[in-house]
Symmetry: D2
């Protein structure tokens, strides 16, 4: 007999249960939306310090201006103004390996390095050694180190030190953030240049330290971006840019018919 176990929610004629609690009586008005999002994925309620780190991550990742994803959402609303869900979905679909992937990639990279190390280093020199090994292995595989470098914030991503301060204050400086900091210290000697630890990367490290599976990190980046995209769509409704973006791009197109 087929059945599908779920730990999320259920409803009867008189009550709605969410995560084992009464939605109306125990959650509404008592739990923030960020807290609920953490809980829905982790299946445990965050500690106050964990929640502060988690909400800071969502705030840090919510928007970054007229990104390809935000532009795609606006253009989609232009063509289908009756379907907010379609425009939002189109924006989220751009949140893939290249655009929102750093958070996930960085979490996975740190997590794999920690798994391979077995135990945790006991001092800063030990962390630096682990970081150096991880960077060298990544380079030997012909890959970039995720979370290092930023096209705009070349001298330092302002989100990074703030995230470390919040995590430290909240008692959430775990092995992923610690290893990521060590990468920040040791990479110049290995790579021959100093790159900033970027905001997407530090968010991945922070989420991994909260105990989330690397496979869910992109999901949280998407949740954060949903709020940013709603901001763009509301702005597009008030003051449409989509048609003008279309016109501007279309004007720059040069037709080069194929040979055959």
């Amino acid at each position: 007999m087929t059945d599908y176990p779920t730990s999320i929610g259920t409803a009867s004629a008189t009550s709605i249960s969410l995560l084992g609690h009464d939605l109306a009586g125990e959650l509404m008005g008592q739990v923030s939306f960020g807290e609920l999002a953490f809980w829905l994925v982790a299946l445990r309620r965050p500690e106050p310090g964990e929640l502060r780190v988690f909400e800071a991550v969502l705030v840090a990742l919510a928007d970054h201006g007229f990104t390809p994803s935000a532009i795609a959402a606006r253009l989609t609303l232009t063509g289908a103004p009756e379907s907010v869900q379609g425009a939002l979905a189109a924006g989220l679909l751009g949140g893939g390996s290249r655009y929102l992937g750093v958070t996930e990639d960085c979490g996975k990279f740190l997590s794999a390095a920690l798994a391979q190390a077995g135990g945790r280093p006991s001092d800063e020199a030990g962390w630096d050694e682990l970081a150096a090994q991880a960077i060298r292995a990544q380079r030997a595989a012909g890959r970039l180190v995720p979370g290092l470098g930023h096209p705009v914030h070349k001298d330092g991503d302002p989100r990074t030190p703030v995230m470390y301060a919040i995590a430290a204050e909240a008692g959430c400086l775990g092995p992923h953030l610690t290893l990521f900091a060590a990468i920040g210290r040791v990479h110049p000697a290995i790579l021959g240049r100093t790159l900033p630890l970027n905001g997407a990367g530090v968010c991945g490290a922070a989420l991994a330290d909260l105990g989330f599976s690397p496979d869910m990190l992109r999901g949280f980046a998407l949740l954060a971006r949903t709020a940013g995209l709603l901001g763009h769509l509301a702005e597009e409704m008030r003051n449409p840019a989509g048609n003008e973006i279309y016109r501007q791009v279309d004007e720059a197109v040069v037709y080069q018919p194929p040979a055959s």
Copy 2:
């Protein structure tokens, strides 16, 4: 010369501005994700009471079990496990007129009735009269009254009284919630039966009282549902149901080839 004005955010080499504030220095760790979502759409920071109502709405709408939308997200992850954004987008695409539409429809219905009334009634009898007119006009147009009735919570949706209590305590009981309550009082005499004010409807009324345009109400329902869908996708990653759902449905298919 084309330019696109935006009030959302911008970035320079050393700072990231969001909503006119320094993202790292003024928002991260100091603003909840729910607060930021309100702010991004409204372009103003919510008062504490408004924020409490807003987060309660998001919590109320986050999940409702194995809905068509949650099942579609899980099935999509089954086929494309590498693309969390695709599974999330598929789930959100089911958030249309029928499934997440009540929140928006109810906000629009109340908003239109208030716009047509011109001034606000001065007492409960006045609100009841306005409610009765709105119901009668809706019925005359052959349409249902949005926010009335629920397939499961036939004797009362548990979210509704809680939302009223939160809004009252927060000083956010505005005209939309007031009119919706009046609809609850007067509809039995007009329709000949008593229906509950449902949770999706009361959320629409509450969001409209927070000053949001009816066109954005579906957007907030989608934001809320994003958290719920991440919960389903995390559960699907831990304990896959998609293949079994597919098998169960497929087994029940009966082939009836067309005549020609």
Copy 3:
């Protein structure tokens, strides 16, 4: 007992049936893809003339350059190059009421006018009278006549006469195309200016004459556009424009922080 009747297809260990035929033995190599698409929706095999009209419609609607939808697909591929399905879906999501809606709206408009007329006119004067009534009713309702006018092809959409010629030759000039032609004749006297019958509109009329429900017309426009979007995505893979479009748009953004 739940079961789901389907007329599309089924499979056993040794055969695959599609539309009541053996896929491998009777369809592959013997039916064109366009023919199969018609058949899958109509549940009947098209006559050769019908197929010729149908394929001409799909060809006519396949592409129209760097549309908002094509740009959104390219930008989505930029962010998520590993997910062709996501980029394609993003492009299709812009195919809504405004962008691909004319085909559907025109089919629905003509279909409603014919339904209201009851019988079919017996001569051109009768068709002109029916067309005039339909235009006047549409204007009285404050709506535009779908299929009339084009932002670029102001003196005539080149697709329209070709579609009429193909339909006439194929014996598929039914009531929808006939009424649409009458609208072309009578609208100048009513509207006070001469507008072209556009290509999207004539395609809607042609599909309606093939017997398709108006609710499926947008679906065929989307099928046609899928081929066009694949062309854009293949071009984007060979010669990426997405990052440059992003840079161009981003450069034109002017930040106007909100007051509060």
Copy 4:
């Protein structure tokens, strides 16, 4: 100065060009939709034999019953019946690495093996040797051989011999199909059991032999599936199954609240 070269199409006030040809005068009514799709991606018109193979591939891949993708599309239409594009997009989003990936994976696998081989074998023994090397390398890397095996068609996929016959007749039996056939001959001795060459795999080999880049193979599987999904959506409009699928699944859900 930004400009975006395109070889797809352009339009002036009096004409529409597609692929360097006049859309109305040279393509509508003269080119099938399948032919246009080939041309849009390849930027060259297919030979008649190539077109026959190509359309056979699209026909072979168009549908496979109530797949996760078809069920997701139907459920999405249930929630958002006003948005055919959303339901179609949701269905396509399930066309990822697991569900529609075999066509692409097989094309890539064969293509990589041929690239590594350098020259082409001159006789069947040479092809068998190349096939054996490719299978052994794949196994050594811990991966399955794409295109081998089928959960239902255990004794042979009926599409495979038909595709070979069509390709042979059309003069399109290129190196990918030839190598794939060799894999069919040599794998039992290496793997210790006989598996069928499946239909998705043979379609990938056939498309690769038509000269398409492996990165576009998933795109054609999606195009084919678009027609199948329209069939499902049309059936869902005529005879809805979505609500019943939802009810059936929901009934089988067992609530297991989390510990904390």
